[in-house]
C-alpha cells in the first residue's frame, strides 16, 4: 500500500515524458520516472521514497528496444530483467540479472530501474561498466549519448528531469570470456555479501564489484593490481584488496573482515579459471 497519493502518467514518447516532467515540476510537484515500480512501491511503504506524480516510461518505444545493429547491442531501459535473460544477447548480463531478486520480481524489475535505483547494489551495472558501454539519456535539451564511466560514479549522475533511455554495448564485448559470482549470507535469493563480475579482454581482466561498498564500482587501481601478472594471483588479490574504495560495508549481511575474506576467496575462485582459460 502506497501511503501517499500520486498521479500516474503514461507518455508514449520521450519528448512527452520530458515535457511532462518539466510541467509537473513547474506545478510544484515531485515527479519520478517509473519503470517496473518495484523500488518506488516498496520504499514508499518505509517512507524512503516519495512522489506526487509518476511518469511510466514502459510505453515509450525507444525504452523497450532490444536490438543488434551495426555491431552494437541496444537495450531499452524499460526492458524487464527476465526479457533480457530470455533473449540472452549478452551472457554476462544474463548471469548477473538472473541473480537479482527472484524470477517473478524480475518480470517487473527493469534494467533502467536496477541501474538507476536507490537501493545501492545496482548489480546489472557491473557488466555495463566492464563492457565500457554508452548510455542514452533524455532531458529537456534532447537526447545525449555518454560513456557509462562519465555518468555512473557510484550511482547514475542524471540531471534534474533526465532519464535513462537505452544502453549501447559494442558487440565485441558480449562474447568475451567472463565470470560472475554472487555470495550471499545465506540462500539463493537476496542481496549480496559480495558480487564480482569479470571479463577478459586482450589478456587483461576487467573486474567490477557490488556489495563490497555502499555503491557498485570498477576501479582502475584495483584492476592494475589484479593484472600485474608477474606476481602470483594470491599476491595480486591481496594487494588489490588494499586499494578498494571506502567505506567497506559493515552491516547485518556481514562485517568488514568477513566481507573481505569472502571477497578474497570469490576473486580467487573466478579469476584463476578466467585467466587460465
Amino acid at each position: 500500500m502506497v501511503p501517499f497519493d500520486f498521479t500516474y502518467h503514461r507518455p508514449s514518447s520521450i519528448e512527452e515524458a520530458v515535457r511532462l516532467f518539466e510541467r509537473l515540476h513547474k506545478q510544484g510537484k515531485t515527479p519520478l520516472y517509473y519503470g517496473g515500480g518495484t523500488e518506488i512501491i516498496t520504499l514508499s511503504r518505509l517512507n524512503l521514497a516519495f512522489a506526487d506524480a509518476v511518469i511510466d516510461i514502459k510505453h515509450i518505444p525507444e525504452c523497450c528496444v532490444l536490438r543488434i545493429e551495426q555491431n552494437e547491442l541496444t537495450l531499452g531501459a524499460a526492458l524487464s530483467l527476465t526479457s533480457i535473460e530470455e533473449a540472452n544477447p549478452f551472457p554476462l548480463l544474463t548471469k548477473t540479472a538472473s541473480e537479482v531478486a527472484d524470477r517473478t520480481a524480475r518480470n517487473q524489475i527493469t534494467l533502467g530501474g536496477n541501474v538507476c535505483g536507490q537501493i545501492f547494489y545496482r548489480e546489472t551495472v557491473l557488466p555495463l561498466l566492464l563492457a565500457d558501454c554508452h548510455v542514452v539519456i533524455a532531458g529537456k535539451d534532447g537526447l545525449k549519448q555518454r560513456s557509462i564511466h562519465e555518468v555512473f560514479q557510484q550511482r547514475m549522475r542524471l540531471e534534474h528531469g533526465e532519464f535513462l533511455v537505452q544502453v549501447k554495448i559494442d558487440l565485441s564485448y558480449v562474447s568475451l570470456p567472463h565470470a560472475h559470482t554472487k555470495r550471499r549470507k545465506q540462500g539463493k535469493v537476496g542481496y549480496p555479501l559480495v558480487t564480482v563480475a569479470a571479463i577478459k579482454k586482450d589478456e587483461r581482466l576487467h573486474v567490477a564489484f557490488s556489495g563490497v561498498c555502499p555503491f557498485p564500482f570498477r576501479s582502475k587501481t584495483v584492476e592494475e593490481q589484479l593484472n600485474a601478472r608477474h606476481l602470483p594471483i594470491e599476491t595480486r588479490i591481496s594487494r588489490a584488496l588494499q586499494y578498494l574504495p571506502k567505506p567497506i560495508l559493515n552491516d547485518t549481511e556481514g562485517s568488514v573482515e568477513y566481507r573481505l575474506f569472502v571477497l578474497m576467496n570469490a576473486l580467487s575462485d573466478i579469476l584463476i579459471p578466467l585467466e587460465e582459460g
Partner: protein, 155 residues
C-alpha cells in the same frame, strides 16, 4: 485523494472501478473486486503470496499499480478451475496451512504452461519466487514435476 476510473479485465470479466492511482493491484483485487485469493503477505515483493498473472506473466500484485494493469488480461487464483496443477497439489499434499498456496499455484501454473520441458534448475528458479513457512517445498516441487510428466505422457 486522487482517484480515477480504471478498467480491469480479471478472469475474463471486465470491471470498471474507481481507485486511487497509487493503489496496488493487490489492494484493488481484494478490496474493490472481492477477489481475496491473492494474499497479502510481506507486501514487499518477497513472499509471492500475492502472485497473479498479468498478460500471462506471474507478477507480485503488491508491487504493481492497478492502473498499470489496465486493459491487460489478469488471472487470479479464482480464475483457475480444476487445472492439472491444482489437482497435483491435492494429490501430492503440497500445502499445509494454505496461505501461500494461491501464489504458488499461479506461479506453478505459468511455469507448466511456459516451460513444459522445464528442467530442475528452471523449476527451482521459478519456485524460489515464493515462500512457504510450513515448508512444503518438496511436495510443491513434486506437484510441478508430476504435471510436467503427465504432459509428456499425453504428448
Amino acid at each position: 485523494m486522487i482517484k480515477c476510473e480504471i478498467l480491469l479485465t480479471v478472469n475474463e470479466e471486465s470491471h470498471s472501478i474507481i481507485a486511487r492511482q497509487a493503489d496496488t493491484l493487490l489492494f484493488v483485487l481484494r478490496n474493490q473486486l472481492g477477489l481475496t485469493g491473492a494474499k497479502p503477505g510481506c507486501l514487499n515483493g518477497d513472499c509471492g503470496a500475492c502472485t497473479v498473472l498479468v498478460d500471462k506473466t506471474p507478477i507480485k500484485s503488491c508491487m504493481m499499480l492497478a492502473i498499470e494493469a489496465a486493459e491487460k488480461p489478469i488471472t487470479t487464483i479464482e480464475g483457475l478451475c480444476d487445472t492439472p496443477i491444482q489437482r497435483a497439489f491435492i494429490e501430492q499434499f503440497a500445502f499445509q496451512c494454505g496461505y501461500c498456496t494461491p501464489g504458488f499455484l499461479i506461479n506453478a501454473y505459468a511455469l507448466t504452461k511456459q516451460h513444459p520441458d522445464a528442467d530442475d534448475e528452471t523449476i527451482q528458479e521459478w519456485l524460489e519466487s515464493n515462500i512457504c513457512r510450513c515448508t512444503s517445498y518438496q511436495e510443491i516441487e513434486q506437484a510441478v514435476k508430476s504435471v510436467l510428466a503427465k504432459k509428456h505422457e499425453n504428448d
